[in-house]
Symmetry: C2
Subunit: 204 residues, 2 copies
């Protein structure tokens, strides 16, 4: 072991740090029951510890929410925003953003984004940090819509309102989708892309 070996190497059965297990479990519980509705005792039990043991890993419930939100935002940026930014054509970019975002709901825990409204439980300064990063995503969608409008491809729609509608159809999936119903992941991606592009693109 050298100074270079800074990695925390303790892993659980699935190659997850105990810390990661805690944050992920917390995110799942909070998505189901909300921030206020999830007690630290419940969370401790869910990861197989006592509350005191849990507090060895985290500093407070509030800080845990902040970490969860920041991590979700980073995941969104690296798996959706950055790849999309590299696409020049606005129509193809929007198509890819929706596709990547919906896929991310399954592959990377992007459903955690449902917790963003819970940022009201954070300190104002922290709320602002999280809020700004969300706005930058909305900004990318608006910019893409504006480029489409410049090309004459956009329907007669308000860009601000439309960007919200698009985001709601995507984020909304995590609210209503239950995998027991007869809807496959691939279907959901395709249908959501089509729904939104049918809505905004002028017929050529």
């Amino acid at each position: 072991m050298t100074i270079a070996d800074t990695a925390k190497s303790k892993a659980t059965q699935e190659g997850q740090t105990r810390n990661e297990e805690i944050f992920q479990t917390a995110a799942e519980l909070m998505v189901q029951r909300g921030y206020a509705g999830t007690s630290m005792g419940d969370l401790a039990k869910a990861v197989g510890m006592t509350k005191a043991g849990l507090y060895h890993h985290i500093s407070s419930k509030q800080d845990m929410l902040l970490q969860i939100l920041l991590h979700a935002m980073e995941e969104l940026e690296s798996t959706v925003i950055e790849p999309a930014k590299r696409i020049a054509d606005p129509e193809e970019r929007l198509r890819e953003m929706i596709r990547l975002h919906v896929r991310g709901l399954f592959d990377h825990g992007l459903e955690t984004a449902l917790l963003f409204p819970e940022r009201r439980h954070l300190e104002p300064a922290q709320q602002q940090v999280v809020g700004q990063r969300i706005q930058s995503y909305r900004g990318l969608i608006r910019e893409t819509l504006r480029e489409l409008a410049d090309e004459g491809k956009l329907q007669d729609l308000d860009i601000n309102i439309t960007s919200s509608h698009i985001l709601q159809t995507i984020a909304g999936i995590a609210r209503w989708y239950r995998k027991d119903a007869g809807v496959t992941e691939a279907q959901l991606v395709e249908q959501t892309v089509n729904f939104n592009l049918f809505a905004i693109l002028k017929v050529s």
Copy 2:
């Protein structure tokens, strides 16, 4: 006063029963902070009473949530579902449903519908009652989409998924809309109707 006079006549400044004031204030608080995040002490203070005084009017927090959800559902049925059912043409019916629903977000407190996921805090039997009535609304949308498909007017879209997308664009408005921004109510109604109809209607 006769037996026929069953109306509770105590009214506050705006012609509201104390009971109505409590339920409406509770609904507003819960939409902002969630069911678990809203304490009965907060609610009591918001209506200018003590907690004990509040409990003179209601039986329990849980029952209050049930009443709020049932009332929201009745409002939705009388102002959106019933009027829409009387329209024969499916395209016009869908258009009117969206228009009435979005308008209702402002005129009748239809934003209360954001509390429907909170029905998980109710007893299973009550959850089912509320859940069924929501499904009947979704059923009407699906039926309307199916009629459009029969007429050959529907895009190549899955009816189940599309009905969810439509509902999310409408309900989602109550999540992101803040009246301070430069968006008028009329704009919002028009844009939401257009967005969804652009999405689902085949170009003729």
